[in-house]
Each structure stands twice: as C-alpha cells, then as structure tokens.
C-alpha cells in the first residue's frame, strides 16, 4: 500500500501523463488528416512549427502579439476598474439600479461589431477609439456580474461592520471585496475570453498592427500555416495567463477554505 503523499504524486504523474497523451493524439490526428487531404490549405504540424519559429526569429510574431497584449491589458484594466465600481454602486443602491437597468440591457445587447464601427466612425481610426470599442463591449458584462455579487453580500457581516463603526475603506477592503472575489474572477475569465475575440476584430477593421491585422493579411494570401502558427501562440499566451496569474490568485484568495 502506498503512502498518502506517494499516492498523490502517483496521481499527479498519472494526470500529467494523460494530458501529454491526449495532446499527442491530437497531433497524430492532425498529421494523419494532413497527409490524407494533401492540401495547401491544411498544412502539416511540422510546417506550422517551422512557420512559427521563423515568425519568432524575425520578430514579427512577438511584435504583433505584444501589440495585441498591450491593448488587451489596457482595455481589460479600464473595463474591470469601472465595471467593479459601477457594479458595486448598482448592487448597493436600488434606485440607481432601477434607473440604469435599461441602459445595461441595451448595452449588453448591442452587437460588438456595431460599437466597433461606431467608435471608428465617430473618433477616427485611432488607438483610443480601438480601446474604447473594446471597453464598451466588455463593461456591461463586468457590471452585471459584480452587481449580482454585491446583491449576494452577507447582510449579517455588513451589520456587524456598521455596529463596530468600521471605516468605509475597511468595509470595502475587508468585508465587501473578499466576498466579491469569486465574482471578480468569473468576470476576469469570461472577460479575457470576450476581449480576445473582440480585440482581433477591432484590429482587423482599423489598426495597422496586432494579431487581427496579421490574420487579415494571411487570410488574403490564404496562408493557413501562418494563421495556425499565430493561433498556437495565442493559445499558449492564454494558458500562461491562466497558470501564472489567475490560478495563483485563486489559490491565494481561497486559502482560508477547508
């Protein structure tokens, strides 16, 4: 019989092995399909890897990926900051909520493409218009999620804080924020996924760099290998964000749970 810790390590290795196996299987399937189809629009994994490597060496891929990441960070930060503030305000104030509820529904349902086009038409093909378009698309989602979180706050704890006359700052940091954490993480994850998708369209329509712009070029040249290479880089970055930033944040925030 194994020690508990030994069992755990064994399980981990098992899991690791399984995920490697599944990725390997995906690669083999891809290779087999490519060989079978033998088409220039369905390149083999080796070719994609070669294109990926070249794009990295020339600096093209890091540059465009970097531009997209920069836009992502800026628009994401703005959307989360204002979204959290507005969400808490609406969740705490019933009148404000009743007033702005219709606005939220409208903005939630305006198609992303419409806001992007309108932003470019009104403010020109400039960086700030691109950022604004992304923010306007993301903001209502954050507000709605945080508003739900604020409504679910524990009234008992709020009463306790009021009795002991805790300062506004303490109430926000020590009592409201920890309870909102799961909702903020939810908004972060769904938000990243949403922004990735929108930001490419924004770049495709009105920017001269970034992933969206590059993909547009490859599309015009039917360069599928490059499209796949860029996509892989993309997926890699998302995985890194999840592993290096979001997971540790989760673990830190939930350290008190049994």
């Amino acid at each position: 019989m194994l020690e508990p810790s030994g069992l755990k390590i064994n399980l981990n290795i098992h899991k690791y092995f399984l995920s490697v196996l599944s990725l390997l299987f995906l690669l083999i399937t891809w290779q087999a399909l490519a060989v079978y189809l033998d088409s220039s629009t369905f390149p083999m994994p080796v070719l994609v890897a070669k294109v990926f490597w070249q794009a990295c060496v020339t600096g093209q891929l890091p540059y465009h990926l970097g531009m997209t990441l920069l836009r992502l960070i800026v628009s994401f930060s703005i959307a989360m900051l204002f979204g959290c503030a507005m969400g808490i305000a609406l969740g705490r104030n019933r009148k404000l909520d009743a007033f702005f509820d219709n606005w939220l529904v409208i903005f939630l349902n305006v198609p992303a493409l419409v806001t992007i086009i309108l932003c470019y038409v009104w403010f020109g093909l400039v960086e700030s218009a691109a950022i604004l378009a992304v923010v306007v698309n993301k903001l209502p989602n954050v507000i709605v999620t945080i508003r739900e979180g604020t409504r679910a706050l524990d009234q008992d704890l709020m009463d306790m804080a009021r009795c002991y006359r805790l300062s506004k700052r303490k109430i926000l940091l020590e009592i409201i924020w920890p309870q909102l954490h799961p909702f903020v993480m939810g908004a972060t994850r769904s938000g990243l996924a949403l922004i990735w998708k929108i930001i490419l369209v924004v770049e495709l329509l009105g920017r001269s760099n970034g992933m969206g712009y590059q993909l547009h070029l490859f599309f015009q040249m039917f360069d599928v290998a490059s499209i796949l290479a860029y996509t892989l880089a993309f997926v890699g970055v998302i995985q890194l964000i999840e592993l290096l930033i979001l997971k540790p944040l989760d673990q830190h925030a939930l350290r008190w749970r049994r």
Binding site: D156, L157, D159, M160, Y164, R165, R257
Partner: protein, 246 residues
Amino acid sequence: MSAIKIDILNKRFPGVGEATGHLVIENLNLTINPQEFVCLVGPSGCGKTTLLNIIAGLDTDFTGEISVGQVTKKSKIGVVFQNPRLLAWRTVRQNIELVQERFQNAELIDELLDVMQLTVFQNVYPERLSLGMSRRVALIRAFAVNPDLLLMDEPFVSLDAPTARQVRDLLLLLWEKRPHTVLFVTHDLREAIALADRLVFLSAAPMGFVADIKVSIPRTERNNEQAIEEFRQQLMNEYPAIKQLI
C-alpha cells in the same frame, strides 16, 4: 455615556403581498441608566433581537424614538450577535484586530485570548473552529473595543457549562474594572439573575413591558447557586405574570 431612553410606539415587519404584517413591538418604554447591567428576559421569538438591532441603529424602520444619549463618534459599541459573524477570510486574531480601528491594543487581545483559551488558535481561520470557539472569538471581539455600550444577544448559548461560567465571570470582571452599560438578552432566568443589576421582563409578540425588577443579591453573592435559586423562587411567587414567560 448618558442614559438610553427607549420609546417605541410600534415596530412592524411588513407582510408579503396582501398580508397585514407582523407587529413585533408595541408601546415599549424603557430607560437604561449609564453603566447599568440590564438583562432583557423574554420568551423566544418575542422580538428581543429586533429591539437590540433598533438600539444598535441597524433598524430604523419603526415608530417611536430612541435616544442613546451622547453617543458621539468616540463612544464605542461592542456587539455579540446570536451567530458569531466572523470573517471567514481572516484569522481569529485578524478578526479581533479588525474592530480596533484607531487604537490597536495587542496586550488586551493577548489577555482576552488567554482567558478564553484561544491563544493557540489565534492564527487559525474561523472555518476550522467549532461553534463554541467561534462564539468565544465573537465575545473577545466585543470586549476588545473597550465598549461604552455592550449589546449581547444570548451570547452563551452553545458554550459548555464550565466555559459559560468562565466567560460569565470574565464579563463581570471586565465590567467591574471598567464600568459600561450592558444590555444582555437571554431567556435563561438563572443566568440573568447571576449577572444583572436589573431584570426587564418582556412579553411574547407583540413585545411589551411586563416587569422591571432590581436584583437585590449583592455582587459578592452572585456565585452562590442557592441565593440565585431563592431569588428565582421569590420572583415566581411575587410576579405570577413572569411564570408564563419562562
């Protein structure tokens, strides 16, 4: 801190839809003198918690008036709720330090933790504590602010008998050392007699005033079970109305 004057004409919880609602308190007049230890005794569900919430300023939806005297920004209120209400994401010690807003007093916390036998648990998250331990943390939290007004809502429920006795002694010790107004809600008459200067008996909903009795047992005799039992018997005989409440 001056006297607390309670004058509630009525307090009603709104009904759902067509229902008329539920009248919780009707015509309650009560004055609590500064530095007095008052026990509110009444049957379960009579609105004692609602009354405490009103005094604490948490519930302002009632007809009547409450004057808590010179409650300035400086005067401190300590509250022990029926449930512990600890922050699950803060350790025991952080939970206590949280309420010591401008006057960190680590010594006092150490002392209280020691008396409550929680020193070894001070860096533990509340989810790992039993209910009785969490209640003791909530008590420490209330004592740690050096309150001018201490509101306690059945604080010793779910403590085992020896611990309850110990905490009761501590409460009295702290109160004698630094006199402050205490409002203590309970439905345990013996506990009330052992602690209070004054007993206020309240009727079942709608809550009203039944009797106001000074406890004549001297403070030194409060550990004497027999004296307390005698006083209780005497109460029952003199005020038959109380019998129905207990």
